[in-house]
Symmetry: C2
Subunit: 293 residues, 2 copies
């Protein structure tokens, strides 16, 4: 049984899909109400939303590491906010959290389509994912602990994941992706209603996922500025195979850098927010895993 | 004869195509060198580039109105910058400007393809545009004085325009659009080299343009926040006809607002930077004008 689920939006203040879905549901809570558990929805970073920025001082979605949450000396906007949210939705790692499941709404400038980023290995989390993949065949699953492991918003609760949709620029609301994300949330809530009713699920226990392997940075100069772009043949090719010899980067001078390595799958290709984090794309392995059903 | 041309990039610090083209040409000035005039290239808003923001205090590309340039009481970052740039590249409206032609490099989150935004009516400006349209058939021309008339960067010089390419998110470098913009600049420089050599041009004097008519804002609530998105059937349809009855907006509640009016063409649809300016798209009339050749 789950008792309480939280939908969080605006963790990055310039990712409008989540910001406006939460606004919608605040006005029409009946849309996210189900019969046998409570759903809450909230904006996690109001100040960043107001300023249409990813964050004020640093990335809120990298602020939930257990050590940081316990560190009383951190005085940044997002460090204080993380502690406040953790008291409200967590506390992370405790036996009795205030919320059982967190779904955190994101967008990306990369052509990720409709995807889930999951760092949780709970049986319930993966059961929910398997259900969603069955009702939404376009949905893709990226298993990733993050570039700063264990520090995502959804890590506050025992179960949960993030939804990433793209491509959409920062500070832009795209109706098509808004509607896709909205529909996925309703499916998720339906799943929990059935789950709480002990309904039997008939979905396949074999799930295709993309399992994180490595981060690839842009070529850079001594000052750290990029000296190349994602090659035009790689742009927008998220979730497609990257093979040895494929063009990867085009330098400002016009030279081509080619990929050398085993076949992997590129994700988050040319995401705006990752320039400063130091990666141009994530590489993942395509796998089939078995879900407990 | 033109003596000096300026290529400006980073007028909006998060529009990377211009930022990185200028970086490239600073390293390889021979690429923009022609035999019979001088070309300079520069970043107009270094601080905004550093912070990956459109501007620090307000939009630099709305800061070149003649009244503002003379107003000594304006103390914002961009007001001071505009005066500095005007002294260096202008002065605007004088008989002897330091630069004859300014081409200002922009990107947009709207699906504008490769386009020119022109507010100048000089014969030379339009001759250059007609040349470019001949060598690059995909190029489109939008004649617009701007939402704050006569205040664009390129208005400092007697001749000039802005290049807009998209769709590309803010803070992202897309190789395909980078290469298209670069090629267009080389064509522009070639034109002036031929022009200075008094070469005869054979291009058509009939030019298809999109002439600005009106700005259309999003539906908003009393606090000014948007209550609807660009409808999914209108998204990405820049430079295509908008007819009476076509879906224009989708409200957060799911209602459709339809366009009522004569057939016009929508441009800058869902541009991120225009949410705060108060418009969702520009509407223009398609026209054919005659160029002096």
């Amino acid at each position: 049984m789950i008792k309480k689920l939280a939908i969080t939006g605006g963790t990055h203040g310039n990712e409008y899909t989540g910001v406006y879905l939460v606004k919608k549901w605040k006005l029409k809570p009946e849309l996210i109400t189900r019969s046998n558990f409570e759903t809450i929805c909230l904006h996690t970073n109001e100040q960043a939303i107001k300023e249409v920025r990813r964050y004020i001082d640093h990335d809120l979605n990298r602020s939930f590491g257990s050590v940081d949450l316990k560190n009383e000396t951190l005085e940044t906007h997002e460090a204080k906010l993380a502690k406040h949210l953790n008291a409200h939705l967590g506390p992370k790692g405790s036996e009795e959290t205030n919320v059982d499941f967190i779904v955190d709404l994101h967008t990306t400038t990369a052509n990720m389509g409709l995807s889930i980023v999951v760092s949780n290995d709970s049986v319930l989390t993966w059961k929910a994912i398997a259900y969603l993949c069955q009702v939404e065949p376009l949905l893709r699953v990226y298993r990733w602990q993050g570039d700063e492991e264990g520090s995502f918003v959804d890590s506050m609760s025992p179960h949960g994941f993030a939804i990433e949709v793209g491509a959409v620029p920062q500070g832009v609301l795209r109706a098509d992706l808004f509607l896709q994300t909205e529909a996925l949330i309703y499916h998720l809530l339906d799943f929990f209603e059935k789950y709480n009713n002990s309904e039997t699920f008939t979905f396949s226990n074999r799930l295709e996922i993309y399992d994180h392997e490595i981060l690839v940075d842009y070529p850079r100069d001594k000052e750290g500025d990029i000296t190349a772009m994602v090659h035009q043949e790689r742009q927008d090719k998220d979730f497609l195979a990257l093979k040895t010899g494929d063009p990867l980067f085009l330098t400002l001078s016009g030279d081509v850098f080619r990929y050398e390595g085993e076949t992997l799958y590129a994700l988050f290709i040319n995401e705006a927010a990752y320039y400063e984090k130091g990666f141009a794309m994530c590489l993942a392995r395509k796998k089939y895993i078995t879900i407990e059903t």
